[in-house]
């Protein structure tokens, strides 16, 4: 057999076999991967809306809003994702909000790549808990309304600004005192 034909045939067979293996693995794992992502999202929504046991996803203008419901189907609050740019990359935050009273319920850091031991402390309860009960009218100015982590002002500011930016958008969609 011509050596060029042999090269092409061998490469082709290896590529086809590889494609088949990849397609099969994808088919097997994809449902689980999707389910993992959904569970993780639901988990974080339920964490930032106390009392909620179920969630509902809706699209409002350009924001995706998750509504937290309790067992009887009462709306307990809404949550949304906020993204800020931190010291080493994007910071994603899930924010729980009560539009009736116009204050924050809780926040959770979904992903970040801040410096371990410094900026990474934005994940800790000591930092995140201070946003609980904050009014949407506050400025979220670091070192005034928001206590920054020492040595990590950039990370702390990124979180505060990201929440404020998204919150302002949400307040336009759900005016304070309005209905859910």
């Amino acid at each position: 057999m011509n050596q060029y034909a042999r090269m092409i045939i061998v490469l082709m067979i290896i590529s086809i076999a590889s494609g088949a293996v990849l397609a099969l693995s994808y088919e097997i794992t994809n449902p689980t991967i999707q389910e993992q992502a959904r569970q993780k999202l639901e988990q974080s929504v339920l964490t930032v809306i106390p009392g909620a046991t179920k969630m509902e996803e809706i699209q409002k203008e350009d924001m995706i809003v998750y509504i937290g419901l309790d067992d009887e189907g009462n709306k307990k609050g809404i949550s949304f994702e906020a993204t800020g740019s931190g010291f080493n990359g994007p910071i994603e935050i899930m924010v729980g909000y009560n539009p009736i009273e116009g204050n924050l319920l809780a926040i959770e850091i979904l992903s970040m790549s801040e410096t371990p031991g410094l900026g990474a402390k934005i994940k800790e309860e000591a930092f995140t808990s201070q946003f609980k009960g904050k009014s949407s009218e506050e400025e979220f100015a670091v070192k005034e309304d928001v206590q920054a982590i020492s040595g990590a002002t950039i990370s702390s500011t990124a979180v505060a600004n990201a929440i404020k930016t998204s919150l302002d958008k949400i307040v336009k969609i759900y005016p304070v005192g309005g209905d859910l």
Binding site: R6, L11, T29
Partner: protein, 203 residues
Amino acid sequence: MQIIKDFVNGLWNENPIFRMVIGICSALAVTTAANNGIAMGLALTFVLTCSSILVSLLRNVIPSKVRIPCYIIVVATFTTVVDLFMKAYFPALYEVLGIFIPLIVVNCIVLARAEAFASKVGVARATADALGMGLGYTWAITLISMIRELLGAGTLFGYQVMGDGFTPWISAILPPGAFIVMGILVGLINMINRKTVKDTDCH
């Protein structure tokens, strides 16, 4: 026994990290916690073993002119399989190692063993070599990551081992710490090797 010799070779004499100093990109980047070190090591061992077996089986089929693309396809396939399965069944681990798993494709250990060893010998020897190299890589990066985690966070495999008075040396889990720890270990291992060579030397 040749097979045992091939296996032990990767563990010490030709340890990929400490002796050959290849594949250190991932070894420096993921070794911030001991758990990551073990997981990355086992993932690489899996990919290395599977690809070495396949390369060895196909060694008489693959024309030498297109051997590199063939090896890369084989390695990339196994890497993607590990990537998908880890994402599906070990999501917590995937969150930490996620960006490093696809990089196994370009980890020079895998291609080096395929090219230098697996493509020249039978399946049994190729498997022994791959397991030895993989486990050699695993113990090496686990050791590096244990030292870094201990110094940088005061924990070991996630458990607190240092007392309350311990101030973590944060640099250890930042990039400079990787170079410092690895440099010291390579130096120590060279020292041990030089000593054993001297001892067995009979002028």
